[in-house]
């Protein structure tokens, strides 16, 4: 099936109805395996058992950024290609990305207190991550403020493209500035600095979180398509009465 076939909302709904039970089932299985591996992973020689927070913190940080990445591609779909599902995808991704970014901030804080002696510091990584969360809130507010979905989509797309500047800032903040947050330890030249006994459970948890994101995103897109159908029918009803 060609990608363009999903441009039809009815076809997407049919795809979502078939895919969601499978996606949900696979997500639960991978999560169960990932949490099991995370719990039996050895403690870090310096950080002790607090390294278990990493299995939540790092995947949620990745997904916070992935969410904005999805919205950025969708914004291009809205503004350049005018794909009918692009703004549906963007709107559906925003609350999910915001939730994972919030989880990243909370778990980072709870990890920071025992390791750094503080819940929060205004260093470049933490601040740029907070900016991402605020950008998510801004996009969600914009969607709620403008009633016409197509006008809201264009405004949100522009804000999303501008906000995408924050993604490389988050990624390279630990290289560009002197931060309390540790430098890059996974995707770096020379390979990861984390032992495989901890790195493998981390990748399994990252896969589980990614599957969760995809499942929630498909479900939220289905809801958004239904919401737009309800809106269209209500407009039809109003015009029939008047």
């Amino acid at each position: 099936m060609a990608l363009l076939d999903f441009a039809n909302p009815s076809r997407f709904l049919s795809f979502a109805n078939r895919a969601l039970p499978l996606l949900g089932g696979v997500t639960v299985v991978v999560f169960a395996f990932g949490i099991n591996q995370a719990l039996i992973a050895p403690d870090d020689y310096q950080q002790g058992a607090t390294v278990k927070i990493m299995f939540l913190h790092v995947p949620s940080a990745w997904l916070g950024m992935l969410g904005w990445g999805v919205m950025t591609i969708a914004a291009l779909g809205t503004l350049v290609w005018r794909h009918p599902l692009a703004d549906v995808a963007a709107k559906a991704a925003a609350p999910i990305g915001a939730a994972f970014t919030l989880l990243c901030l909370i778990t980072g804080s709870l990890w920071g207190r025992p390791m750094w002696g503080t819940y929060w510091v205004w260093d470049a990584r933490l601040t740029s991550e907070l900016v991402l969360f605020l950008l998510y809130l801004g996009v969600i507010a914009l969607w709620r403020t403008v009633e016409d979905p197509s006008r809201a989509a264009r405004a949100a797309a522009i804000l999303t493209l501008v906000g995408a500047i924050d993604l490389p800032i988050i990624k390279f903040s630990v290289d560009w500035w002197n931060t309390l947050h540790q430098p890059e330890s996974i995707f770096r030249v020379g390979g990861p600095t984390i032992d495989p006994s901890i790195l493998i459970p981390l990748f399994i948890m990252a896969l589980a979180f990614t599957l969760l994101f995809v499942t929630l995103h498909v479900a939220a897109m289905r809801n958004e398509i239904l919401r737009r159908r309800v809106r269209t029918l209500r407009l039809m009803q109003a015009s029939a009465v008047s």
Partner: protein
């Protein structure tokens, strides 16, 4: 030793993950039910999309006449 000292932070992290992921799942599930119910209500009253209009045309006509 360190585990017992910091167990509260670990538990709080996992509890916040359960709360946030649970809230997301609840939001998606409840929203789906709400939208499906609203759609069903509208279709029961004879308001249908263009693609389904052929099936419910008489009902739409009645609604227009009533108006």
């Amino acid at each position: 030793m360190m585990a017992t000292n910091h167990i509260g932070f670990i538990v709080a992290s996992y509890a916040s993950a359960v709360a946030i992921v649970g809230a997301l799942i609840a939001w998606v599930t409840i929203d789906f039910r709400v939208q499906r119910r609203r759609l069903a209500d509208l279709e029961m009253r004879g308001i249908a999309r263009r693609s389904a209009a052929a099936r419910s045309e008489p009902v739409m006509e009645q609604a227009k006449e009533k108006a």
